[in-house]
Amino acid sequence: MKIGVLALQGAFAEHISVLHRLEVETLPVRLPHQLVGLDGLIIPGGESTTITSLMLSYNLRADISRMVENGLPVLGTCAGMILLARKVSNDGIEPVAVMGITVRRNAFGRQRESFETDLAIPVLGEKPFPGVFIRAPLIEQVTDKVEVLARLDNGTIVAARQGKLLACAFHPELTDDLRFHQYFLSIVSGEQ
């Protein structure tokens, strides 16, 4: 199994390090030819405006969008979730638009509102998952093809899945809990 991590800007090294701990072959992706032969792709957190603009400059966006249509599994965290979304409600940003979720960018406010909280994520088991939310987005709406995986106590949707696409508003790569990545790998391998 070979997983690519989009390495244009943001916390890509953290995802690579988690995948190494899980003993998965990993490749940083900066140019379209590096997408060839991947079994899955992670789009990390970072600044979605920056990543979008760098994706446009070397045609990565079109290639990723085509590969997702052909069934490439993708995990998007934070900015990565924004890029997967069909629509961003409060911004002119143009996502790759492959997943039936509408997201709100910087939904909780500025950095002083960034927070940590324990999350119940039933697909990962009973033990709560450490949620790290940094200038995080949230999911406002989902289509009926989308399965909601996690909510905050007030009902806000913060993780979702649609087929082989997995998105979360928080940062599993900043924690020592490997379960979210393991869940993604089980989607890639077809077990889930």
Partner: protein, 293 residues
Amino acid sequence: METGTWKVKTGLAQMLKGGVIMDVVTPEHAKIAEDAGACAVMALERVPADIRAAGGVARMADPTVIEAIMKAVTIPVMAKCRIGHFVEAQALEALGVDYIDESEVLTPADESHHVWKHDFNVPFVCGCRNLGEALRRIGEGAAMIRTKGEAGTGNIVEAVRHMRTVMDEIRKLVNMPEDELMAEAKELGAPFELVKEVHDTGKLPVVNFAAGGVATPADAALMMQLGADGVFVGSGIFKSSNPKVRAGAIVKATTHYQDPQIIAEVSKNLGEAMPGLDIKQIKPEELLAPRGW
């Protein structure tokens, strides 16, 4: 829900990695920076080259300027306070800036003490010239470090010196036997626990950007190849003849820093870079990097 934790403070810096943070003095500049792909902006009244030219006492920017910039863009906005000026820092936190730079570019308010940054909910970035200085700032609560370089000169030589020094000192610590770490901590003037952590992990406990003298795409890629996690560009963009094009080129060079073909390509037709200053021509008392300790 817990806010202001060490994890969310250092985590925001991790989200900025591989990116370019640009100095801006107006909302229009900020928008140009955001459109060019900046991962954050530093809101200022004057860029360092102008601060250097103006002389006198340089202070925190007028909150009106900072707020206008915060309104203009969706990316994180940083702002500078004077070294040791914890009330300027309190004011910046009240404004809601995303990161505070306790900066040698402004005139220090305290010649002995830096701000005790653990008291704040908003994270801080601080400058350093070597590993000891970096670890002292982290000990005080800095959640991100940048090498100082020499701001406002358009001359990369000091940034290279500081980054090489930090990296050399990390390599030295990693190879050091444990029984020598305490003496080394004393030598560096750094907290022992952090010295031990660098020895064990082989890296700084927080993100480290390069700053102070970046003027071209190749400068940015140079700092990345030397081990920076990202770059600050101060005067280098808005003191050049074509800020928009240069900003975009520096963003691309920072992402593709290992790809000489792309660096060559984006370096074409950028217009005039900012005018540079030879460090040796600057009077010792006008150097910014020695401010702080």
